[in-house]
């Protein structure tokens, strides 16, 4: 069963029909609010409601955790086994029977809402995600609260948008706006949330989108800080970066992080379809089994891997663990998070990613310092950089990963190590796993959503790629028709560009020119008798798509220099453009084969 398809309303559902009704709402505003202004104000309210929901969600997780497991350092042995297993059964029942659209993290569902379902996310999803994710994370499943917060925010925003019958275009944007608010509230980091949503969900920048997303993110963070304080997620240790030569150490950390990201992503990508393909009754037991395995790991000495694990990250940041234990924790967290995620328990991947990165960063940093004692970076510095490394490698959000580390640490000094390490991680991960994890999950669910990484990296065809050389014969509009006729007699071409005065281009065929001459217009200036006047021109750096608008109307289109529009760089024709697209397609087919 697909995680995403269950979110889809039939296109004939009442809410969708209502969307097609002209927006009567704005006709009654008497000029006080136009749609843009109203939408921006609405974004603030979305931020407030999402913030309130996330505050409750975090309280619910903490309450569940304390009620079910007790304060972690004092958790009793039997609870480590019993709680995740029993609660896993309950969660599975709820997910399968009551809230079928809440499996997994929620990022893909939000993206699907934007691209497929016109911004529609049922409000039931918010309730289900809230209850089930709080149960799962609170009982020790190795998942985080950030992605569910994102989906809860998106769901609230979508419901609000539908209730207010805003336009389809704005309704589509509601889900990402709510997602940004939810994520910002969960992370207490508005910039990272805005970047993530724009980088991974919306995929394009515009002033309108940015403004609305920022407004909702900021207002939700204000709400969370109001209730839960402005304490950062971690106590940030003293971080140091003294010598540029140490960047090699961070590059190595990035490479190791990239490898770990690939292992993590491939584990999920391999196991998830297998478990989903098992008989339906087994799905009732999968979260319980995952909980049992996690409980076993915790019982055997690593309770740190349970839940989101922020306390353990904090301790790793302050050098509480030896490098071997850090490495073991990273490995066990990959296992535990894979179990939890593929079992269908609702919860996010952000916190586990940060946890694995933190432990790996600490382990690699400590190990490097054993071999190279002259390295000055503290364990805390490597832990922080490691968090960004996994974020860049696993979630494949390089910009968000950099800003997230900066925002969480509040320290600009480590930006260079973070950028270097994240870049290496991203490159290693991309070279070993072509499809990013979120895209992989959507494809496993049978959906083809636009891959923003692919879009980002797609080689864009430009006008210059299809450009033909400057024609040998160029006519002048200021010359007489008979002079121009004489000039074309020696040319084999059938279509000629005409340079207009004082600027611009036009076009004329050999037949048209000869006809003008035969009509006795030889003593007329060509510019005054041209059948078609000005011709659109293109620039070499424009996307080739922009030529498509003209190629059917004009046999030749001049390509001119941006600095001097009279200077011809070449021409494009219908044939040259289509030929270029054809050769590109052939190359793609060859590559995919």
């Amino acid at each position: 069963m697909s995680d995403l398809v269950t979110n889809a309303p039939a296109t004939s559902q009442p809410s969708m029909v209502r969307l097609q009704i002209p927006t009567r709402l704005f006709s009654t505003l008497e000029g006080m609010f136009n749609e843009e202004v109203f939408f921006l104000i609405l974004c603030v309210f979305i931020g407030i409601f999402s913030g309130l929901a996330v505050v409750c969600f975090r309280l619910a997780i903490d309450w569940m955790h304390l009620a079910l497991l007790g304060p972690l350092p004092q958790t009793h042995g039997w609870r480590l086994f019993a709680v995740p297993s029993v609660v896993g059964l309950l969660v599975a029942g709820l997910v399968i029977r009551v809230f079928p659209g809440i499996r997994g993290s929620g990022v893909n569902q939000t993206k699907a809402a934007l691209y497929i379902f016109n911004g529609y996310i049922p409000f039931r999803t918010a309730i289900g995600k809230f209850v089930c994710a709080a149960l799962a994370i609170g009982s020790g499943q190795s998942l985080g609260p950030e992605d569910p917060s994102l989906q809860i925010g998106a769901s609230i925003a979508s419901a609000l948008g539908r209730q207010l019958e805003i336009s389809r275009e704005k309704l589509r944007l509601m889900a990402p706006v709510g997602a940004a608010a939810g994520l910002a509230a969960a992370f207490n980091a508005p910039i990272s949330a805005v970047l993530f949503v724009i980088e991974e969900v919306i995929g394009r920048w515009s002033a309108g989108i940015l403004g609305s997303v920022v407004l909702s993110a900021v207002s939700s963070v204000v709400i969370v800080r109001w209730f839960l304080g402005s304490e950062p997620l971690f106590r940030i240790p003293v971080t140091t970066f003294k010598r540029p030569s140490e960047l090699i150490a961070y590059a190595f950390l990035g490479s190791v992080g990239g490898l770990a990201s690939v292992i993590f992503a491939k584990s999920i990508g391999y196991l998830r379809p297998i478990l989903k393909a098992l008989p339906r009754w087994t799905q009732y037991f999968q979260p319980a089994l995952a909980g049992l395995l996690i409980g076993l790991i915790a019982y055997l000495g690593a309770p740190q891997i349970m839940g989101a694990g922020y306390d353990s990250m904090d301790q790793a940041m302050h050098g509480q663990y030896a490098w071997k234990f850090l490495a073991v924790l990273a490995l066990l967290k990959i296992l535990a998070s894979t179990f939890s995620f593929v079992s269908g328990a609702p919860g996010g991947m952000f916190a586990p990613t940060l946890f694995i990165g933190a432990m790996l960063g600490g382990a690699v940093g400590d190990l490097e310092r054993i071999f190279f004692p002259q390295l000055t970076g503290s364990t805390g510095t490597y832990v922080l950089v490691g968090m960004g490394v996994l974020f860049a490698g696993f979630l494949r959000a390089p910009m968000t990963s950099v800003f997230m580390v900066l925002e969480v640490s509040g320290n600009y000094e480590i930006i260079v190590p973070v950028i270097v390490a994240n870049t290496f991680s991203y490159l290693v991960s991309r070279s070993l796993q072509a499809v990013p994890i979120f895209d992989l999950l959507t494809r496993q669910d049978g959906l083809i959503l636009p891959s923003l990484e692919e879009d980002r990296e797609e080689a864009i065809l430009r006008v210059e790629d299809a450009m033909l050389p400057v024609p040998a014969t160029i006519l002048s509009a200021q010359d007489y028709v008979d002079a121009n006729t004489r000039r074309v007699q020696d040319s084999a071409e059938l279509i000629f560009l005409v340079r207009m005065h004082p600027s611009g281009w036009s076009i004329i065929s050999r037949d048209q020119l000869e006809r003008l001459f035969q009509e006795g217009k030889g003593d007329h200036m060509l510019g005054s008798v041209l059948p078609s006047q000005f011709l659109p021109s293109l620039y070499p750096d424009l996307p080739l798509d922009s030529a498509l608008r003209y190629v059917n109307d004009y046999p030749l289109i001049p390509v001119v220099n941006r600095a001097d529009s009279r200077r011809l760089e070449g021409v494009v024709s219908r044939d040259s453009v289509f030929k270029k697209y054809g050769s590109r397609r052939a190359m793609e087919v060859q590559t995919s084969a």
């Binding site: 009567r24 709402l25 704005f26 009654t28 505003l29 006080m32 609010f33 109203f38 104000i41 609405l42 309210f45 407030i48 409601f49 309130l52 505050v55 409750c56 309280l59 903490d62 309450w63 304390l66 304060p71 972690l72 350092p73 004092q74 209730q163 207010l164 019958e165 209730f227 839960l228 304080g229 304490e231 106590r235 240790p237 306390d311 301790q315 302050h318 050098g319 509480q320 030896a322 503290s378 364990t379 805390g380």
Partner: protein, 381 residues
């Protein structure tokens, strides 16, 4: 469903206010619940910490902090437990908690004191001194004077441990000036002066103790020892006798008393003795010096006769010097020979110093002669 934007905004505002109130109520209840749980865990941690079970205490404080993450007292207690657990890896975390607290209340003396102790654990004199000073001049919630003096004493002890005597002495002077009229406090200061090898300062503090508590045996013994160390043997004799009378079990005072008596009986430089007595003491010292030289040579297998060459060794040089000086003893009675006692005693002192260097600390009359030598040397400097 209202269709007017202003109406919608009013309704949304009402919904937000309602939600805000509801969440406030929830958060307040949850927080109160958590705080109660945290207090219980905190008390448990305090019990563990006071019993020296730091691992349990750390665990309990951590659990308390999961219930009430922003609680400064819990953070401070956790930091202290981390610091006191004697695990160097935990110092970073302790410091991190304390720095976070310090950034919030840099004037808090208790936090500064905890940070000073972390720096002292690390052995950083500069940081420790800075935080101890912050603690002394910071805000104490109770007994500020007492706590300030305690902090200063801790700093002095740390500096003495790190062998930074000049800074320790300057802190000691500041401490002495700020002490209340309390025998215990002055006694502690006197002991610190003695530890810093400032015998004069120590003697002054012991005298202050005796002014407040004239029969204090520790002060009597300390004053005697301080006077003895500073070469004031007559004063030392007085205090040490009183100390031995007050506490006959005090072996150290008895030993120092005997040594001081011997110094006073052996010194030819005492002002109130007759010429005959002075000459007798010089002769006795001279004879004792030869015995000491021979014993030491024997002990270290040095044959004084075989190495009679003047440049052979310090021992043979001293032997030659002693032999050359011996005839001068007969001229001691002559009133014209005013420099002769010093010249003879100089030979004695050279032998005592050399033998002390080669054969270790002397005892009895030799020790007395060495002490007289050191006092003369200090006086001449």
């Amino acid at each position: 469903m209202p269709r007017s934007a202003p109406v919608i905004l009013v309704l949304l505002t009402l919904a937000a206010v309602t939600g805000f109130a509801g969440v406030s109520h929830l958060v307040a209840r949850f927080t109160a619940n958590q705080q109660a749980r945290g207090r219980k865990l905190y008390q448990q941690g305090l019990g563990d910490a006071s019993a020296g079970r730091y691992d349990d205490a750390i665990s309990a404080f951590r659990a308390a902090l999961t219930c009430d993450p922003a609680n400064s007292q819990y953070q401070l207690s956790l930091a202290r437990a981390l610091r006191d657990s004697n695990d160097p890896r935990r110092l970073d975390e302790a410091e991190s908690y304390l720095i976070a607290l310090w950034q919030r209340t840099p004037q808090d003396a208790a936090i500064n004191l905890a940070l000073a102790r972390v720096a002292a654990h690390r052995g950083s004199i500069e940081d420790a001194t800075r935080y101890y000073h912050n603690s002394m001049y910071g805000v104490w919630n109770s007994n500020p004077d007492l706590n300030r003096n305690k902090a200063r004493i801790e700093l002095i002890q740390f500096l003495l441990k790190k062998a930074d005597s000049p800074q320790a002495e300057s802190e000691l002077m500041a401490l002495a000036a700020s002490l209340p009229p309390d025998a215990v406090a002055h006694l502690q200061a006197a002991q610190l002066f003695a530890q810093a090898q400032d015998s004069a300062g120590a003697l002054a503090q012991y005298r202050e103790v005796l002014r407040l508590d004239s029969r204090n045996p520790a002060a009597l013994a300390g004053a005697g020892e301080a006077a003895y160390r500073s070469g004031n043997y007559a004063t030392a004799l007085r205090y040490l006798r009183a100390a031995v009378n007050a506490n006959p079990e005090d072996g150290n005072s008895r030993r120092l008393l005997e040594s001081a008596e011997q110094v006073l009986h052996a010194s030819p430089f005492q002002s109130h003795i007759s010429d005959a007595e002075r000459n007798r003491r010089i002769t006795a010292a001279f004879t004792q010096a030869e015995q000491r030289l021979n014993q030491c040579a024997q002990q270290t297998d040095i044959d004084l006769k075989a190495t009679a060459s003047p440049s052979a060794s310090p021992f043979s040089t001293l032997q030659s010097l002693w032999t050359a000086t011996k005839p001068d003893l007969a001229r001691l009675r002559s009133p014209a020979e005013t420099d002769l006692p010093d010249a003879i005693m100089d030979v004695v002192f050279q032998i005592e110093r050399q033998t002390a260097t080669t054969c270790g600390p002397p005892e009895g009359l030799d020790l007395a002669l060495l002490l007289i030598s050191q006092k003369r040397e200090a006086a001449s400097q």
